[in-house]
Symmetry: C2
């Protein structure tokens, strides 16, 4: 059962906040937001594609929706955008609210295996399995479009994200070749097993950094030439603020990712943006370019 908590209009898009009971998150209520472009209300044979946005540490579904200014480009390019929360809420694990970089608001888009977390902290399954199903049921492809579609009656999908959500986007995309047409990121935690944030998350959710390195580290996943061939992306787009404190603190490590990708033959378009930091002011500035990047690939036949 999905319930729409709020609806408001922005650049002609309907912005909805949605709540549902999540099996992936162990039966907790989950909240996400969607930006529904005007074209979706009148889609005939042209399927409006879907773009997932994953947020960073401490965020809810609201940060991107309120601060990124994405509705203009969503309307212009005809893309349905879905922004989930960053963790389960109210799992009741002792200490889950104690730190900004672990637990509530910091699910790290993994399926936890550690005893205390494994029931609820399953954001990887939530984002890649349950959320697409919920969105598909809320916004089914119209019959005419489904009939006209050469292959799947599902909406073509891409994924992007910021910081922890950039990590999440890269990992979800790399682990599911063929599912996401394109992937991009703002200042992603690109090599989590080699930075403090990632190490803490992998240790806490998975029991060891090693377990995270093997399963949820974009730099390790992208080394696999067969995997990237299956993904079939012409390039991966990454924007990185050159004045981002977390870059200089070694939390992001985009160069590691680029090096690993290139060793596997995967092109990465890494752009350092002079003067920009890690905030939503940075995202707001470049969000149109990312939405255009995905729209071009999502609308391609």
């Amino acid at each position: 059962m999905v319930s729409v908590l709020s609806k408001t209009l922005c650049f002609g898009c309907e912005v909805q906040q949605v709540e549902h009971e999540s099996a992936a998150l162990g039966g907790l209520k989950a909240v996400f937001s969607v930006i529904v472009p005007p074209c979706l209300r009148s889609e005939g044979e042209t399927i409006t594609p879907l773009l997932y946005y994953l947020s960073g540490l401490t965020c809810t579904d609201q940060n991107f929706i309120q601060k990124a200014g994405a509705c203009r480009a969503a309307a212009q390019h005809g893309v349905l955008i879905v922004a989930p929360d960053t963790s389960p809420r109210g799992a009741g694990v002792p200490g889950e609210d104690d730190a900004y970089d672990f637990g509530t608001g910091a699910g790290f888009y993994v399926n936890a295996t550690a005893e205390a977390y494994r029931k609820h902290y399953r954001m990887y399954d939530y984002v890649t399995r349950e959320l697409p199903q919920v969105v598909h049921e809320m916004f089914p492809v119209p019959a005419a479009a489904a009939a006209a579609a050469a292959s799947s009656p599902k909406r073509p999908s891409s994924i992007f994200g910021h910081s922890m959500g950039g990590h999440g986007a890269l990992v979800c995309a790399l682990r599911n070749p063929g599912v996401y047409r394109s992937v991009s990121a703002f200042a992603p935690i690109a090599h989590p097993s080699a930075c403090p944030w990632g190490q803490k998350a992998f240790q806490g959710y998975l029991g060891s950094v090693e377990a995270g390195r093997a399963e949820y580290d974009a730099t390790e996943l992208v080394r696999d030439a067969q995997r990237v061939r299956q993904c079939g992306w012409d390039t991966i787009l990454i924007d990185q603020g050159a004045e981002d404190n977390f870059l200089h603190a070694g939390q992001l490590r985009p160069e590691d990712f680029v090096q690993a990708a290139e060793s596997a033959g995967q092109s990465v378009t890494l752009r350092y943006q002079p003067g920009y930091d890690h905030s939503y002011f940075f995202i707001q500035t470049f969000v149109d370019a990312h939405i255009a990047f995905h729209a071009k690939r999502l609308h391609a036949q």
Copy 2:
């Protein structure tokens, strides 16, 4: 003494949060934000003009800065935008934090005369007298531009705002003919002496609704044909969401304002925007149009 609390880049603009000790607010610290467009850093004989934005109930300087998406248009049109807070903070008046629509976050852009409030709650003087002086000292007009300017060496100024801040913008502009080249508003409290929000504010800050009607009510001020002639505006722009709950509750009353303005020969461009509500999603959608409206008038010779 002005101290810059933070600086960040957005669409090439520098977004600064500034703190200073405010004489107008009885010696309290005041915080405002500025959006500094790229052209200001290189202005020669062309003076970058100034646009004030006044926020609504419950807001700080941050709501507009984070949620309105104004930097794109500020950069494009070459306008310096200044967004003050909505009240003094920490005045220590008993009960000032009890309601969302009176006291902290709800200064209503008046100079209070009621005993408990008159020392600190002087947002009218703050916005129209002290803040321009502080901004002028922070961003002095370069010598070359001052020499080339036919008249005043100050930056040409305009003002706009939302809800309570729309009321503030209209009142500040109408009370100071010749000071603001143009004025516009999103969903302003356009006839405060005739609505619950305004009546509560006038009663509390000024001792009576009647006192507010005489001094701080845009609909009453705009009835004065001599005043509007002195203001010299071709039109006043107001955007109003047609699905705004506060409109339907009678808090805004834009029609009263239009009727009074027309009786005095002042044109008002009142646009009802179908489907839009009272939120920053509405402001975000139309902020470019407002900035363009002011820029056209500010850049005119």
